[in-house]
Amino acid sequence: MDGVGGDVNDELEQPTEGTAQDPRTLPWRANAGGARTLDAAIAFARARGIDIPDDVRFFVAPDGLLPTNAYAKYCEVNSHKSYSWEDFLGRPDRDGNRRVPIKVHASVLESDEAIVAVLAHELFEIQALRELFDDQQGIEGITICRLICTGVKGNLHDRAWDRADELVTALRSERKEEAGDERG
């Protein structure tokens, strides 16, 4: 099968290069069997060891709700505001609980590698932010902006892609072994 994350990566132009802020495992390989449903993607991510807490909720991003070039989005942070953890939560669900709404580009669901990478990336950032708020009530928006934007080496965004790359690499190794076993 072609390596293609083809659809995934053609459709989503790559962010600015040279910042070491992007996944290094691109292109992500598209699934031979096509796209997973959102629920199946979440289950797959869990099976790959990604911890998905109860207070997040995934959506396939409605048209127009993701910036160009983005795989997913869970917040918008204003550098002139102060933030609490509650600012990262959406309105209450039917069950009355508020959750972090993670919007995922539909094309991500076409690739298990993309699913693992993108969900791991978003959840790594969210978990790290949650831990920061455990230690302090409010954090200045400008501080959060520097943590989650591209272009700041070693920030949360950067490390989140490192984690995502680890998981994708592990997935590839496993599948390569499986393919080898089948041939052997």
Binding site: P15, Q21, R57, F59, P62, D63, G64, L65, L66, P67, N69, A70, Y71, A72, K73, Y74, C75, E76, V77, N78, S79, H80, K81, D87, F88, L89, G90, R91, P92, D93, R98, R99, V100, P101, K103, I142, I144, C145, I148, C149, T150, G151, H157
Partner: protein, 198 residues
């Protein structure tokens, strides 16, 4: 994506409040200003929370979403400045008007917020009226500058009237407003010839 669609996504929990504000900033302009104000006025929590956001837009604050930094457009900053001027001029609340295309009649005494704006046709007043039957709802009317005198109160006669009837001859298009400079017959509920049409 328009304001209603964005609010719908927000209501369904698809986005955080700040994401909503970020999208509103993207579409914010002098043309959209009143539309956004009216939409947010129906939700006190959003209206109040948007104020500091608007201040940051006026100052050109950076926001980050999906790893990407962005800054408000010049048009958005201009509109944010207008928004803050409107909010800082509570003395401009005056009595008005009714909206002939609406099922809702606005009784004399209804408060409206007058907004001074400019568009391609010259200076016009935009009037934001809260629905007396439903304080959460607003409508906006666009009036020519000469249609209303914001510095003078209504006459006592008009104060006494429950409603100002609308004369079809004077309701060209959608919006009319009372120009309070001109006197009326005491007790009369007929349309004064001073009712101007937009």
């Amino acid at each position: 994506m328009n304001v209603d669609e964005l609010l719908s996504h927000y209501e369904r929990g698809v986005m955080t409040r700040d994401e909503l504000f970020g999208y509103l900033t993207e579409i914010l302009s002098l043309d959209e200003l009143v539309v956004i104000r009216v939409a947010l006025a129906a939700r006190d929590d959003l209206e109040n929370a948007f104020r500091p956001w608007i201040e940051s837009v006026e100052r050109g604050a950076e926001t980050v979403a999906a790893g990407q930094s962005k800054w408000p457009s010049a048009e958005a900053r201009k509109a944010a400045r207008a928004w803050r001027q409107i909010e800082s001029a509570p003395g401009r609340f005056k009595r008005v008007v009714r909206h002939p295309t609406s099922a809702t009649e606005y009784p004399i005494g209804t408060e409206a917020l007058l907004l001074e704006m400019r568009n391609a046709e010259g200076t016009r007043w935009l009037v934001e009226v809260r629905d007396p039957e439903n304080a959460g709802r607003c409508q906006h009317l666009e009036l020519p500058l000469e249609a209303i005198d914001v510095t003078r109160p209504l006459s006592a006669d008009m104060e006494a009237a429950d409603h100002i009837p609308v004369d079809a001859d004077h309701s060209l298009g959608a919006d009319v407003a009372l120009r309070p400079k001109v006197s009326t017959t005491p007790g009369s509920r007929e349309l004064p010839r001073t009712l101007a049409a937009a």
